[in-house]
Structure formats: C-alpha cells, structure tokens
Subunit: 341 residues, 2 copies
C-alpha cells in the first residue's frame, strides 16, 4: 500500500508520524505540536525549535541575496522562540551545499547569520556543513530560555479572549509575487533591469523578515501574559486555526480589522488578489498572533504595533471570518502547505 | 573571485566560516569545534550537537532500510553527546523529502527513530517536515546533560597520556564496500539475489551503528575521567589528529594494537585494502577515541571493550604511526572528507 504524503498535508503528516511518540523524560514539559518544545533542566526551562529551508521550495537563489538568506534562516527560528514568550540564546546551523556554491557565497551567507546573531544577541555554537547533490539546504535549531512556567503555548486561549496580531500581514506574499514576476520578465528579456525600489517594503518582508522581539519584551515589561501565542509563518488563517484547535475554542475574525500596509493595496490590485486573502493565506510575515484576556485590553490598546482583530468564542460557534459586508464565513486553512500543489 | 569549497576541505571550511564567530553569552562554555557545544543554563550544563545526512552522499536508499536509516540518524548524534561524556536527553528531527517518499516509508523511518529513542532513553520533542526537489535529507539535533564542568573536550590530552579506543575499527567501511559491490552486481544482473548473511557483522556496522553509551557509563562508574574524547565518525586517523591539534600534542599510534574484527580481515583482503587503512581512513565506526592519564591504566585495562593503541607525546615529536615492521610514518588525515573527490 502506498499513501501519498500530500493526502495528509503537512500538519496531518506530523500528527500521524508522532502519534506514537512516547514521552520518557519527566523534564519534557512540551513536545511536538507547538512553535517550540519546552524542557525542564534542573528546575529552569529551555525552549527549542528547529526549521528547514530548502532551495527551490522555500527560496530561489535567483533573487535571494545570500546574506539575506543567512539572516532569514536564523530569524525564522528565533521567531518560534519569541512565539513562546521566551528569549533565544543559542543556535546551530547545518548546511548541505552543492559544488556550485563557492566559499565567497558561504561567507556572504554567514555574514547574514552573524548579523542576526548580533542583533538578537544569540551565539552560534555548532553545525555541520556537508555536500548536497542538488540544491542548498539549511537546517537551524534555536535554543532559548524562559522563567519557570512563563512560556506561552498555542493551547491556552479562552472564550471571550481578544485576538491580537503585531505589525501588518500579507506583505511577504506580495513581495514574493513581485520577485517572481520580475524573475519571469528577466528570463524572457535579460536586458530589462528590474526596478523594485518603490516596493522595497514588500520585498523586504519576504527577503529579510524581522521577528517581533520588541513586542515580546514590551508584553513582559507591561506584565501582559498572552493566553496563547503563535508566529505567523503559514498565514493568519492557518495560525488562528491552530490556536483554536489546540485551545478547543472557536473564533470570530473581523476582516476589516486585519492590519494591511499601505504599500500592499495597490500591488494586490495589480495581481488581482484581495489583501485579505494575502493576509489569511500568504504566510511568511513572521508577526506574532496571540490572545489576551479582556482585562488586558486597555494596556494592549496603547501599543500601536498591536491590532485587535477579533475574539475567541465557545468551540461550538466554530471558527469564523466576519467580512467587511457583515457576512460570516467559515475560516479555512490555505497556508503554504509544503506538499499540496 | 571564486574559491572552491573543496580547496579548503570540510574542517578548513568550518574554521574559515567561523573565525569571526563572536561569543556574546557568558553561558557559552564551548562553541563550534568539538563533538558538541556546551552551554551553561542556570548553573547546570547542557550539551548540544547537530548533524545532517544527505541521500546520495551519506546513504543510498537502494540498500539502506528506512528503519535502519531512522535509527542511525538518531544514534550518530547521540554518539557526539556521549563523546562529551554527557547523557543525551532530547532530539529534534528535520526532514526534507521528495514526493517519491510515501507515508508508509516515513512510518518505517520513524520506527527506527523511536527504537533509538527507546533504547537510549531520549525524547523526540520537535522537528519540521518539508518537501525536497530531490533526495531525502535528515537533520537531527541532540541535547544532553552533564554535571557541571564534567564534560570532556578534544583539547585536554597531555604528554604521556594513553590513547584508547572502544570496540573495533574499519568494519563500517568494509560493510559499505560489500553493499556497494552487491548493488553493482544487482544493477548488472537484477536476477542475482545478494547473500550477505555471513557478513552481517560488517553490514550492521554501516547500516545500524551503536553509540558506546555503556562505555561512558562504565567510565563514570569507575571514576575515570578521560583527558580528551572524540567519536570516530571520519576514521581513526582524522579523529586522532583532531585531538592532537586541539590539545597541542603529538602522538605515537601502534599499528599492531588497532582493534580489528575477525570478520574484517578476509573481506579487506578480497577488496585488496589493508585493514589498517580501513581503520585509519574508513570512518563511520562510531566508536569512542579517548586519552587517559597513565594512572588510570590499571582500571582501563580491565575493560575488554577498550584497547590501548598508543600514547601522547610532546607536540614537537609530531603525529606518528608506528607500523608492524617498526617503521614510523607521519599520520595523515584521509577521512571521508565530504568535499574531496
């Protein structure tokens, strides 16, 4: 019998393969199924997350500067650590490279890695570099620390909690569409130089995302403890559904509240997609999505970097999107599933 | 300018790329350049190691059962943790898979992963599964614990220390040659069924290596603290040179003392290679190579799993192999460098 991986989808596959995963250690506080795992080490807690980036699947070297790629490889992992309300401290990097990659290219990649380490105050402590028969593959593991039991999972959202998101959404998706369009034009007419200067915000969103470290710090300083948190790597819709599923709750998401950058609207129009679709299904924005108790409303509303976009309901109400015209639709996950085509 | 990665070699490349790697955290006790990194977390110490296995470079799915591959992916990382005299506790696994891999194939792979977790009492706590345009790529990170400052690095070997190795060497290399030969025969005559029953020891060495957990425990129980330790993944010669370089010492290795299994000799003869070459340059044996002070000689000599194969000298004596005929040769690293051809 042969079951195609695509028939389960990415999350279905992980659930399937880890359903028999035993926990043997008393110190394993949180295992597979959140942004990061939490292990108790001698009474203090560490957070661990890991991610893989594959050439041709997650990035295209034709328009991805290697320095940006190095930076991004690190920060997408740090984002997972921040999404636990933890502080990243160390990373390891494994690389598989084909012989078309030169030492100079790797130096550029590592420049980006070190820039991220500098900016977020983490140490690179190990890794493996090996050859690949095709393509550039990057695997990063990030370790962080958190005060005992102060980590925030995906599973604590409660009925009537408010749903918050940082920054704006959909930009990374549109940045990618711009790069893909320019690549096509370039391949057809190598003489035409792309002019993406005006779109630097959207391009930056996909090539050099920034994890929301400062929001985590702000929440900590203001003693706001989110009830659930996740980072937006696959699209708002998919991430909110993760929180609802793991917290066993429903939600109402207000379409008109979803934060969209001004640069996104005209470009979405050019591509004939709605900015809401970009935000819901685009992914790669690396913003933080979290829920707070209503009692924290006043404090949170003072931070202009955070937008309240809806509220949590009882599970039986389902997971809903309330459109600008006032209609309710069931939310569906259409994130960038790595396997569906 | 373009510098080929091959011109630096694997270790030269890592040195080159990490020469500007700053250590920012007081807790980073040991960084890039040993079997694993050591970080101080709240006064207790954690050990972290990571490794990548690439289809077509590190394994051939034509003769590697997926269950063995899952097992091996875990244990090669645990071996690095043991080589620090630490105890592994947790692992994460990232996989990149092409669409030729079915759910059933992944189930087999994970059976091996869980078997290793069970046997060595570690928890699988996370990972990422993504698609690959070609080939199966596995990246594992292992975390372990060690009592404060009880870890053993590569850099503590002292003049007159004894050089010890566990088990026997060269078997994995010969096992691989057998599998490669059978593959060739099969590709030429698909009707011929390979009969490798008699060579199960050598085949097992390459397909299902076992880390030397019990030797680490035995050393701990007997209060023997090696002065330096490394696991044999690239061949005895390369590993011993790592210890000598990082400890700033020389060595004399006695060819006639290198432990070779009885099954290895006739097969080495068939392939026309010397068993010494297999041990020195073969690699993948995952035995432990370590140095001890002479005062521990009596205790260590009681363990039949450990062989004393030479001694450490002053650096100016150089790194030498004393052959069976009594000649001295300079030791050279000819491990499986991932880039040299």
């Amino acid at each position: 019998m042969r079951t195609e991986v695509a028939s389960l989808g990415e999350f279905g596959l992980i659930d399937h393969l880890t359903k028999n995963n035993d926990i043997r250690k008393a110190g394993t506080l949180l295992s597979v199924g959140d942004d990061a795992a939490v292990i108790d080490q001698f009474g203090r807690q560490s957070v661990i997350s890991t991610d893989m980036l594959v050439e041709g699947v997650h990035f295209d070297l034709m328009y991805t500067p290697l320095k940006h790629l190095g930076y991004k490889s690190v920060v997408v992992n740090l984002s997972d650590i921040y999404a636990m309300m933890a502080t990243p401290t160390h990373i390891t990097i494994n690389l598989a490279i084909s012989n078309k990659v030169s030492v100079e290219a790797l130096e550029e990649f590592y420049e980006g890695v070190y820039a991220a380490c500098d900016k977020f105050n983490v140490d690179l402590i190990g890794g493996d570099t090996t050859s690949s028969l095709s393509g550039f593959i990057i695997s990063v593991t990030a370790v962080g620390e958190v005060a005992p039991d102060k980590y925030v999972t995906r599973s604590g959202a409660k009925d009537k909690d408010l749903i918050c998101v940082t920054g704006d959404l959909g930009g990374a998706y549109l940045g990618l569409q711009l790069l893909e369009r320019e690549k096509k034009i370039y391949l057809e007419n190598p003489g035409v130089q792309p002019d993406l200067q005006e779109q630097s915000y959207l391009i930056g969103r996909i090539l050099k995302p920034e994890p929301r470290a400062e929001v985590v710090e702000w929440l900590q300083e203001n003693q706001i403890v989110p009830t659930a948190m996740i980072d937006v790597s696959d699209g708002l819709s998919s991430e909110l559904l993760h929180i609802c599923k793991q917290s066993e709750v429903g939600c109402v998401l207000h379409e008109d509240k979803i934060p969209i950058s001004d640069s996104a609207r005209p470009i979405a129009m050019q591509f004939g997609v709605s900015v809401t679709t970009c935000a819901l299904s685009g992914g790669e924005d690396y913003e933080l999505l979290f829920t707070i108790s209503q009692s924290d409303y006043e404090k949170v509303s003072k931070n202009s970097d955070i937008t309240i976009i809806g509220y949590i309901t009882d599970k039986k109400e389902g997971t809903n999107l309330e459109t600008k015209s006032g209609n309710k639709h069931a939310l569906t996950a259409q994130g960038w599933t790595a396997f569906a085509e």
